[in-house]
């Protein structure tokens, strides 16, 4: 794939990447950093991309790997108190609590419920149901078998149902 063509196609997936980044980081500026780092890495390793394969899935994979490498590590560090001892159940990501008071709409409940999902449940759910990726692509992104992806999506939905009942 020619460089120009690769760049043009990569740019088409910017909104989708940013959307997933927001749900992963729960922070606007961190999401932007994550997306930008994703594109920097994509350009650096563009020679590894195999033409004919799914560019969108490849970019999602880079984004997720970058998130796991840097952002979760940072969250883990910030969850430590000054003496280095973990402070119990520190939230992994910023909670959307402040926004709850602004709106009681269903999407806000859904949004908040989604924040409670662990990343390994949330990401396949969003990729498959929101971004419309095939389970095979999701499995490649998650680096696990398709069966595991199905299982995680099923469990994610179950958990969501449970969370949403809590908002009755």
């Amino acid at each position: 794939m020619a460089d120009d063509e690769f760049r043009q196609q990569a740019l088409q997936h910017l909104d989708a990447l940013h959307n997933l980044a927001v749900y992963l980081t729960r922070n606007g500026s961190e999401a932007e950093d994550l997306v930008q780092e994703t594109y920097v890495r994509a350009m650096r390793f563009s020679h590894r991309f195999q033409p004919g394969t799914h560019l969108r899935a490849w970019l999602f994979q880079i984004l997720r790997n970058t998130f796991l490498t840097f952002y979760r590590l940072r969250e883990r560090e910030s969850a430590l108190s000054e003496d280095g001892v973990p402070e119990g159940e520190a939230p992994m990501f910023h909670d959307a609590a402040s926004r709850d008071s602004e709106s009681s709409g269903a999407h806000m409940d859904l949004d908040r419920a989604l924040t409670k999902l662990p990343e390994e449940f949330k990401t396949p759910l969003l990729l498959a149901e929101v971004e419309g990726l095939a389970l095979e692509d999701v499995a490649r992104i998650m680096d696990c078998p398709v069966g595991t992806v199905k299982s995680r999506i099923f469990r994610a939905k179950e958990r969501l149902r449970g969370y949403l009942k809590d908002y009755k």
Partner: protein, 239 residues
């Protein structure tokens, strides 16, 4: 509202639809889009107008510089700007005058030499006055290309005139080209307009000897005269 939501996801398909329809999407803000475009296509707008011209222009300039460096040594130097060449021509003009109108002064050592030193600004601690082959016949102050100096004239037994001019050297640098080892010195030896010249720097002064000894045999003799003069004359600038 939560009831409404729960009602929509009783089955898997309902939950998927709920996520697609109700979950807010977060499109990339313009700032991020601009940053990503810059990451993907750095410097793209600028390349559209000068990017295509820069490589050939750079190549042309580089070629011109290489050609200039290659041809520069063979290009004729401007006579008006080369101080060595200017002094050379002035010395030859003096030498020509000495050949045609020079005269032997019997009082050169006791009278002409002290007066020349007093008026030229160039004094001589030691001076070669002559031997059985060559004799000092005149000494006078001179003025060459804005430099005040002293001019000594010798004549050998065969009647050849040798003009020896000493002027302040200033910033004149003698070229490496044309240097010849003569005894323990390495002056510049050159031929110009049918005359031979030997040039060197000594005590901050520029010394030039000119003669009409140009054949190989005569030039060897001229070099011997140089050795005699160079080893027995010690000029220094008074000012």
């Amino acid at each position: 509202m939560a009831n409404d939501v729960n009602g929509e996801h009783e089955d898997d398909g309902g939950m998927g639809r709920l996520l697609r329809e109700r979950l807010p999407r977060h499109p990339a803000p313009p700032v991020l889009r601009a940053a990503v475009v810059e990451t993907l296509m750095p410097g793209r707008p600028r390349q559209s107008w000068w990017g295509s011209w820069l490589p050939p222009a750079f190549s042309a300039v580089a070629t011109a510089m290489i050609m200039l460096l290659y041809l520069a040594p063979s290009l004729p130097s401007a006579p008006g700007t080369d101080p060595v060449q200017l002094v050379t021509r002035a010395v030859l003009a003096e030498h020509a005058r000495n050949i045609f109108w020079g005269q032997v002064r019997a009082d050169v050592v006791p009278a002409a030499l002290p007066r020349a030193m007093a008026e030229s600004g160039v004094a001589l601690s030691w001076v070669f006055t002559g031997d059985e082959e060559i004799q000092l016949i005149d000494a006078k102050p001179t003025y060459l290309e804005g430099r005040r100096g002293i001019e000594l004239t010798y004549q050998d037994v065969a009647g050849h005139t040798i003009t020896y001019v000493i002027v302040p050297g200033g910033s004149v640098t003698l070229p490496e080209r044309g240097r010849v080892q003569i005894d323990r010195w390495r002056p510049v030896v050159k031929t110009e307009n049918g005359f031979s010249l030997i040039m060197w720097r000594q005590q901050g002064l520029l010394c030039v000897m000119a003669s009409d000894l140009v054949s190989a045999e005569d030039l060897a003799r001229f070099k011997q005269y140089f050795v005699k003069v160079r080893s027995s004359t010690e000029p220094y600038a008074v000012y």
